[in-house]
């Protein structure tokens, strides 16, 4: 029996972005940027899985997947790139395998490590945008600080129970620390509080959408924070102002001292 992969039709980059052309706010000359874009996904849990599959399908040229975790059976209800045969393997390796099926020409770097205060800046260097797929409030603050220092946008998200939020920071105020300067008692984990599987898919997909919009030149809306409460059936978009007293970006917004 012949290898079925030899009969696959060739999918060009143009075909992956063709349905973007008619969208308002899209600049056709920027669509080619998707092919050269480098996106880092920090954390390959539910958010990272969802965002990665759409970024790959839409024609992003390069993904860097960062996570030291291995696939657990309890992940399968929401981490849709993984199947039963992946249990016990590194999430980044299982994700790479699945993403290669979606987009064979996608370039992927896999980093089997956790994002820390010390390695963060080097992990996100040379990327056009960062997708936050972490489950640690402290690590989210490290990303926020490192990305602001380099002027790199980050699409933050969190999801636990029936609630989720997405907050885009474009390398300038407002940032994550404008809202939450300290994160004492902030961590709510999916083990304790549960998690509705499709909820992480929903907000992970929103992260991918906002990343793609930024890359193709759609005008950024700094300070937009989406909140979702699927228990109450409520969705809102809140406009977050810069915080002049922010310990991370407040000094940036004040400019150089005289």
């Amino acid at each position: 029996m012949s290898d079925p992969s030899t009969h696959l039709p060739v999918i060009t980059d143009k075909e992956r972005v063709r349905r973007l052309l008619a969208l308002p706010g899209t600049r056709p000359n920027r669509l080619a940027r998707l092919h050269t874009a480098r996106v880092a996904i920090v954390g390959m849990g539910g958010l990272g899985n969802a965002s990665a599959q759409y970024l790959a399908a839409q024609g992003i040229g390069h993904l860097t997947l960062i996570d030291g975790d291995r696939v657990d059976a309890t992940n399968l209800g929401r981490q849709v790139l993984f199947g039963p045969s992946d249990i016990g393997t590194l999430k980044i390796e299982a994700a790479f395998k699945a993403l290669s099926r979606i987009a064979p020409k996608l370039e992927v770097d896999t980093i089997a490590d956790y994002f820390t205060e010390h390695n963060g800046a080097s992990l996100i260097a040379s990327h056009d945008i960062i997708i936050d797929g972490l489950d640690s409030a402290a690590a989210r603050h490290w990303i926020n600080r490192a990305a602001l220092n380099k002027g790199v946008p980050v699409i933050f998200a969190g999801a636990v129970g029936y609630e989720a939020q997405v907050f885009a920071v474009y390398g300038k105020p407002p940032c994550l620390s404008c809202l939450w300067p300290t994160m004492t008692d902030a961590d709510g984990d999916c083990v304790t509080h549960g998690i509705l599987g499709p909820l992480v898919g929903m907000v992970g997909s929103l992260q991918a959408a906002e990343a793609i919009k930024h890359l193709i030149g759609f005008a950024d809306k700094p300070g937009s924070l989406w909140t979702f409460d699927l228990f109450q059936g409520r969705t809102r978009v809140v406009s977050v102002p810069p915080n002049p007293l922010c310990p991370v970006c407040g000094s940036v917004s004040r400019g150089p001292s005289s």
């Binding site: 539910g46 958010l47 489950d135 969190g158 636990v160 300290t182 008692d185 902030a186 709510g188 984990d189």
Partner: protein, 66 residues
Amino acid sequence: MKLTVNGEFTHMPDIATVGDLLDHFGVQHQAVAVIANGNIVARDVFRQFTVQTGDTIEIIRFVGGG
């Protein structure tokens, strides 16, 4: 007093401060952000920041997990 809290117009018993408002809704002061009339209220002044009728307040709890 009349307030708009998280987009919903609401009649409230008279309260004095953002801290009182959070207590009314049973919201812990840690890991919560408050925007009053378009400005972020620093957490260390929740107990002093005055709320007046007609104010628009956003209460945003950090959502972890991923």
